[in-house]
Amino acid sequence: MSVGTRAVPTGAATGTYREALREAMRDALRRDDRVFLMGEDVGAYGGAFAVSLGLLEEFGPDRIRDTPLSESAFVGAGIGAALGGMRPIVEIMTVNFSLLALDQLLNNAATLLHMSGGQYNVPLVVRMTTGAGRQLAAQHSHSLEGWYAHIPGLRILAPATIDDARGMLWPALEDPDPVLIFEHGSLYNVSGALSDPPAEVDICHAAIRRPGADLTLVTYGGTLPLTLDAAQLLAAEGCDAEVVDLRVLRPLDTATFLESVRRTHRAVVIDEGWRSGSLAAEVSARLMEEAFDDLDAPVGRVCSAEVPMPYARHMEQAALPSADKVAEAARRVLAGG
């Protein structure tokens, strides 16, 4: 990838997750002329979640493209543009609608390198909102990043912090393989310190967000804040929990959480996806396979109830992981063994 000027310091000391994502796009659009953004309502509207607000004014309709309403079309066209040497950023409004583009993502983006004998790279970046918690009902509240993490050929990123929101896009664009970035809807308004100049982040490793000695809480994306809250609750009870943020859901960095659990001997995995066949199941299986002798208790899991997400606020909250549910699961794991 041709690199022009380096990342421009924003001067802003704090910002929201949304602003960090926007700055990442602005920076990429300035640095590389091959980069463009397309999707539904990304132009004048600024994106369904206002991430691209203002970019149309700066970069024009050629590079900030409102497309006809078809997910399959803009993902497919993104693949084609990437094959031809462009660096498209495709925005899918939400993960729910990515299902209309599943063939393009799985049968095409994820396999073209393989099917072309290594000759055809697909340097495509797809961003989408994921997750529940905002009263959007069953068809607008899925957490399907775990599904996508099942697919060889894709790199799956789940930025949970401001620095990751700011820093993951550029390496994703530099990656010759297709990258899917999942932005949890509950994070857009979270604000925090924005490193200036932006922190360099990798898109290979998990990160320890809170060091601790007694128990490992493994999570990613939208459930990181509530997991950190749970660690606070546990701290008040004398339990020092370590929090691992997976960040990269595929290829999954096993070493970081294994190393953590080898020290703490206990683990709870928190994942907003449905429990059966979830990413939480994968992490648990790897712990069982590779750290069985280090575990003092069975691995705990906190996932969403296996129902289509309810619309009513109290029902939705009851269906989702919460800090309290994590703390409860942690207490059970601490009591066991």
Partner: protein, 394 residues
């Protein structure tokens, strides 16, 4: 129109309609100024009572819509998608349906729902988050709102194929196939944005190939959230039908009489075994996309004002006035009915109880299922022991 039963003969009988879809120009029978104009393909003779009742439907639909917006603003509903400006398109098409026809609506088709005989309170219950469905699809000939854009067009086609099959079975082996005379028709409602989805275009292919008794009713309200209709198509939408092998017609979607006539004609064609029709109702979304949207971000107030001059209610009112087809008492009575409906709606809406949290497990499968039962028990135990149960009803 609280829970009035759908008339079996819906819109036939008092209307005489000659002709079929396929004409080039916009079909209009009532100008924005309320002048009656003739159309060669749709010769309509509508009695005063019919016009009054269409007007009443539109007034009540607009009132329900206003209440929806107000209740959302007051925090009583999660969201509301306003139909304002589209009353004629929805009432005209829905009043063309027979009771046993099947409509497949989107999240904006509140007037269709009302015309099918559903109590407006049911719509509020959905947007309040108390139920996902609200009405009995079989009883009212009305599928649940479709929220994932375009998917319902295929459902309508599949339903129509079933209707064809039923008709063939009823006829028995000795009778010629290919006709569905007198049997129900499926109607797919969708928007200009949805017309870009593969699923909608695939539905067109299927309907054409199988000559399915389906009417595609596209409300081109000029916007798909922030994107204008030009971003979805290079030719007028109704002309796409030609490429799929069935007629398309563009009707003034703010003219309830024209919409009624065009839809009746398309339905009859489908009942007679003539296959699908694409109706493009040319209309306008006066409000924002939903209560979560601010339309001033992407469109001019001048454009909205231009369309307000083509208001679907005003032209009928003007016509009724001018021709002395309704007296002041009629308008007063409709106004009073609308006030009463609004008051009842608010009272009922605010009085609806939240469902228990554990109801989330009720409709995952048709029957019981052990792992789900375990999850339910686990959640029940958790909620009971929760240190902060708050207001959560179990």
């Amino acid at each position: 129109m609280p829970a009035s039963p759908v008339s079996r003969v819906a819109a036939t009988g008092d209307l005489r309609i000659v002709g079929q879809a396929g004409s080039e120009a916009l079909v209009q029978l009532l100008t924005p100024e309320g002048e009656r104009v003739d159309h060669p393909d749709y010769v309509v003779d509508a009695p005063a009572e019919r016009l009054q009742s269409l007007y009443r439907d539109m007034v009540l639909a607009r009132r329900v819509d206003e209440e929806g917006t107000a209740l959302q603003r007051q925090g009583q509903l999660g969201l509301w998608a306003s139909l304002r400006g589209q009353e004629a398109a929805q009432v005209g098409s829905a009043r063309a349906l027979m009771a046993d026809d099947m409509a497949f609506p989107t999240y904006r088709e509140h007037a269709v729902v009302l015309c099918r005989g559903v109590d407006a309170v049911q719509i509020m219950a959905i947007f309040r988050g108390l139920t996902h469905g609200g009405w009995d699809p079989h009883r009212f000939g009305l599928a649940p709102y479709s929220i994932v854009i375009g998917s319902q067009a295929l459902h309508a086609v599949g339903y129509a194929l079933g209707v064809q099959r039923d008709a063939a079975r009823a006829r028995g082996p000795a009778r010629p196939a290919g006709q569905t005379t007198g049997s129900p028709v499926a109607v797919a409602y969708f928007g200009d944005g949805a017309a870009s989805q593969g699923e909608v275009n695939e539905a067109f292919v299927w309907a054409g190939v199988y000559n399915a008794p389906v009417v595609f009713f596209c409300q081109n309200n000029q916007w798909a959230i922030s994107q204008p209709a030009e971003r979805q198509t290079r030719v007028p939408l109704y002309r796409r039908a030609d490429g799929f092998g069935f007629p398309g017609v563009r009707v003034d979607g703010n003219d309830v009489l024209a919409v009624l006539a065009v839809t009746l004609s398309a339905l009859q064609r489908a009942r007679d075994g003539g296959g699908p029709t694409l109706i493009e109702a040319f209309t306008y979304r006066i409000g924002a996309h939903t209560t979560a949207d601010d339309a001033t971000r992407y469109r001019s107030l001048a454009e909205v004002e231009t369309w307000k001059l083509k208001d679907p209610l005003e032209r009928v009112k003007a016509f009724l006035h001018r021709k002395q087809l309704a007296d002041p008492a009629f308008f007063e009575q409709v106004g009073a009915e609308s006030d009463a409906l609004a008051a009842r709606l608010r009272r009922k809406c605010l009085g609806m109880a939240d469902p228990p949290a554990l109801a989330m497990f009720d409709h995952v499968y048709a029957g019981e299922h052990p792992p789900l039962r375990r999850q339910r028990a686990h959640l029940a135990a958790y909620l009971d022991s929760s240190p902060d149960p708050g207001e959560v009803p179990r």
